[in-house]
Symmetry: C2
Subunit: 119 residues, 2 copies
C-alpha cells in the first residue's frame, strides 16, 4: 500500500465509478451509473443552471442569481434538486437565500469516462 502512490496529485477523491468508454465494454451496472451522470446534464435548462453556477464568481451562486432561464420558479427548483441528487451541485442556506456550489468530483469522473477523447 505504500508504493502505490506514484502519482499522488491525481484523483483526490474521484469516485472510481467506471472505466473509460474505450477501455472495455461497460457492464450493465457501470452503464447505469455512468448514464445517470450524463443524464443530469442532458437537459438544456439544467445545463444553463449548472453553467450559471459554475461560471459565477466564487464558484457559487444564489438561486436568485441564476433563475433567469425562461422557466418558472418551481421548475428551477426542480432542476437544481436533480443536479444535487446527481452530485453535481451542493447547496447551503445562508439566511434568506440558498447558495449552490459546483462539486467537481463527479465532473472529473465524467471526464475520465470520456477517456482519450479528452484531448
Amino acid at each position: 500500500m505504500s508504493n502505490a502512490k506514484v502519482l499522488p496529485l491525481l484523483e483526490p477523491d474521484i469516485v472510481p465509478c467506471c472505466p473509460p468508454l474505450n477501455e472495455r465494454p461497460l457492464t450493465a451496472d457501470e452503464a447505469v451509473r455512468t448514464a445517470a451522470m450524463f443524464k443530469a446534464l442532458s437537459d438544456p435548462v439544467r445545463l444553463r443552471l449548472f453553467s450559471a453556477v459554475a461560471s459565477h464568481e466564487g464558484g457559487e451562486a444564489c438561486v436568485c442569481d441564476i433563475s433567469d432561464v425562461g422557466v418558472s420558479q418551481p421548475t428551477v427548483s426542480h432542476h437544481l434538486k436533480k443536479l444535487k441528487e446527481a452530485g453535481l451541485l451542493t447547496s447551503e442556506r445562508r439566511g434568506t437565500w440558498v447558495y449552490y456550489r459546483v462539486e467537481p468530483s463527479v465532473l472529473a469522473g465524467m471526464s475520465k469516462v470520456l477517456g482519450q477523447y479528452a484531448a
Copy 2:
C-alpha cells in the same frame, strides 16, 4: 488565412459548439446543442453499445459483435441510430454486415465543455 494556423495540431475539426461550462452562462441555443450531446450518452443501453464499439479492436465493430446488451435486436438498432444521429458513431455496410465506428470529434467537444474538470 495563412497566419492563423498557430497551433495546427489542435482541434482537427472539433465543432465549435459551446464554451466550457464554467466560462460563462450558456445561452439557450448553446444549452440545447450541448444537452443533445450529453443526452446521447444518457441511456445505459446506448452507453454499453458505444463502449462496445469504442473498445473493440480496430475501433469499429459489426452489430453482431455488440448486440449482447439484454434488449431485442430492434432496440439495439434504434439506439445505434440515435448514436449516429448525435454524431457519435458512423456506420458502413460491408456485404452482409454493418460496421459502426467511433467519431471522436463530438466526444472531444463534450470534453471541452467539461472544461477544467477534465483534469
